[in-house]
């Protein structure tokens, strides 16, 4: 092991080297910094990096803790004390978080070093990271394509070996979809499993924080650190946290996996479908029983999602008024002018679009027709999953119907972009957990583009989907494949 090879390591292997004092946290940080300096000009995964603060943390890191000395990249929607937290929005340009989010406090308690804030769609609104108000992030497998979104910065950083692991957030698929498109592992925990305290709110009944990692084991290691009850967050579940690594290594005998016929839609890319079919066969050969199930209200999920998420967003983003923090319009002639121009100047197009839609569906005369009806259909979607999980341990599907698309390909058609969440948003509506793991490649224009397999588990059943994902992962070589840019070594 030379310093040059360090960035390719996963968290578990890196932590083992740290624990055995074969490398120091400071050396790891230096190597990672060199790696970022050599490749991030091509990827643009990071918005800000505070090397000095991280170096101080590294000097006092306790490498005997589970994540001791491991740098973790943080989506720029999560508060890290003293660091920028811009949500990739002009309206938060210059803002610095006054405190640590609970997930950051917990990562630190497990020995990890938050290192670098990653790019995202502005306020997490998007599926390609193209809605960032700062810059575009590129897919490490093909620089002309999107990394997925909204946690595209964290996903791309991990895929390009410029992060050992990262935190993302999800509202409708923003961890799992970029994980699939960038060829990494992404876990969305059940609603309430991980505290949202200190995470800038998009849609509060849907938002969750979760890990983006190179392996399933790393995902379990981060979950061990960040899951659990937080008295500062009222939707946080007061339920015991298992050791998520405990079930890893078990085979799939006795596991029942559901295939929902409603997920076999037209519009799934042929190479994606072939990869999923092969993965199902693999699960079967590993001992799982494959069962047909039905989720009859699936077709309504995107409509429900975009009504509820925009409604909640319009309320949450009302706080950006140019008084307590963030951008403020110059020389307003009165208070309405102050609000109207502050928000016009600060928000980007997609955020404006969603504020308008959300305000509309909540407005007098339309509330019952859109918002209330959507909440009721949401309950039907939740019941679909509850019934399915009476028959099976997990559901299996593609994460995204297509591999990474070209930069600019979908930006003019919001509805088309919204449909990217078709397999992921139902889990957010139902509050259940889901994971995306690499399951193959599509050959497109001479490039290999990663494909993601999604496993959905019942609420609080993260340990189960991690176990199944791990068994699948370990039976394949997909997680060992490295993006072309990851194969280029740093100039160390």
């Amino acid at each position: 092991m030379t310093g040059k090879d360090l960035p390719a390591l996963n968290i578990a292997d890196l932590q083992s080297l740290l624990r055995h004092r074969e490398v120091s946290p400071r050396e790891v940080l230096d190597v990672l910094r060199a790696r970022i300096e050599s490749v991030d000009g091509k990827i643009d995964a990071y918005l800000s990096i505070d090397f000095e603060a991280a170096a101080k943390e590294a000097e006092k890191a306790n490498v005997d803790l589970p994540l001791g000395g491991v740098p973790i990249a943080i989506k720029d929607i999560i508060s890290v004390a003293g660091e920028p937290c811009t949500c990739a929005s002009k309206i938060l340009h210059g803002y610095r978080a006054p405190y640590d989010a609970t997930v950051i406090r917990k990562l630190r308690a497990a020995g990890a070093i938050p290192f670098g804030k990653t790019n995202m769609d502005e306020f997490a609104m998007g599926s390609s990271t193209e809605n960032s108000g700062v810059k575009l992030t590129r897919n490490p497998w093909d620089l002309s394509r999107v990394p997925g979104g909204s946690s595209g910065g964290s996903a791309a950083a991990v895929a390009a070996d410029e992060a050992f692991g990262g935190l993302g957030t999800e509202t409708g698929g923003s961890i799992r979809q970029p994980a699939a498109l960038s060829g990494v592992v992404g876990l969305k925990p059940s609603y309430g499993r991980v505290s949202r305290f200190g995470v800038v709110a998009f849609a509060s009944s849907l938002d969750q924080v979760g890990p983006l990692t190179k392996t399933v084991r790393d995902s379990a290691l981060i979950m061990n650190a960040i899951a659990g009850h937080d008295p500062q967050e009222t939707t946080s579940l007061n339920q015991p946290v298992p050791d998520y690594t405990e079930g890893l290594g078990r085979d799939l005998r006795g596991v029942r996996l559901g295939l929902a016929k409603e997920y076999m839609i037209e519009g799934i890319d042929a190479q994606v479908k072939a990869a999923i079919d092969a993965a199902v066969k693999r699960m079967d050969s590993l001992g799982a029983e494959i069962v047909d199930v039905s989720l009859p209200h699936t077709d309504y999920a995107i409509a429900v999602y975009y009504i509820l998420a925009t409604a909640e967003a319009s309320a949450n983003l009302a706080r950006f008024d140019g008084v307590r923090y963030g951008h403020r319009a110059e020389n307003p002639k009165d208070l309405l002018d102050h609000y109207g121009r502050t928000r016009e100047e600060g928000f980007g197009p997609e955020v404006k679009r969603r504020i308008i839609l959300g305000t509309y569906v909540l407005s007098s005369g339309y509330y019952d027709a859109y918002y209330l009806r959507a909440q009721k259909v949401r309950e039907l979607i939740r019941q679909d999953f509850a019934k399915a999980f009476e028959k099976v341990n997990a559901l299996i599907s593609p994460t995204s119907p297509v591999p990474a698309f070209k930069l600019g390909e979908r930006t003019d058609d919001p509805l088309q972009m919204y449909l990217a969440d078709i397999f992921t948003s139902p889990a957010n509506l139902a509050g259940i957990c889901g994971i995306s793991v690499p399951c193959g490649f599509a050959d497109v224009d001479g490039n290999r583009l990663p494909i993601g397999l999604q496993l959905l588990g019942n609420a609080l059943d993260e340990a189960r989907i991690l176990q199944i994902a791990h068994a699948y992962e370990q039976s394949t070589d997909w997680h060992r494949a490295r993006s072309p840019i990851a194969e280029t070594l740093p100039n160390a």
Partner: protein, 96 residues
Amino acid sequence: MLKSSDLDVAYVAKLARLNLTDAETELFQKQLGDVLKYADKLRAVDVSHMEAAAHAIPIFNVFREDESRDWFTAEQALSNAPRQANGLFIVTKVVE
């Protein structure tokens, strides 16, 4: 459910305290019209027997002890304010 053509982007933008250019208003009118047309499919669902779900996993009555805790100072709370004076946020004048 009402027809999506009921959406008046210029009016809703006023409700949202969000100025839009004429070009944005026109573009959003079309794009969000498409999205609302797509959402019309929810009309087909029978929800007459359904309760609305505000949260997927409901929790009720979350209490904590009513006692003071260490938290950030007024100075920290003001640290990101675009305009402040005497330990206070400065707001645009609301009365003549």
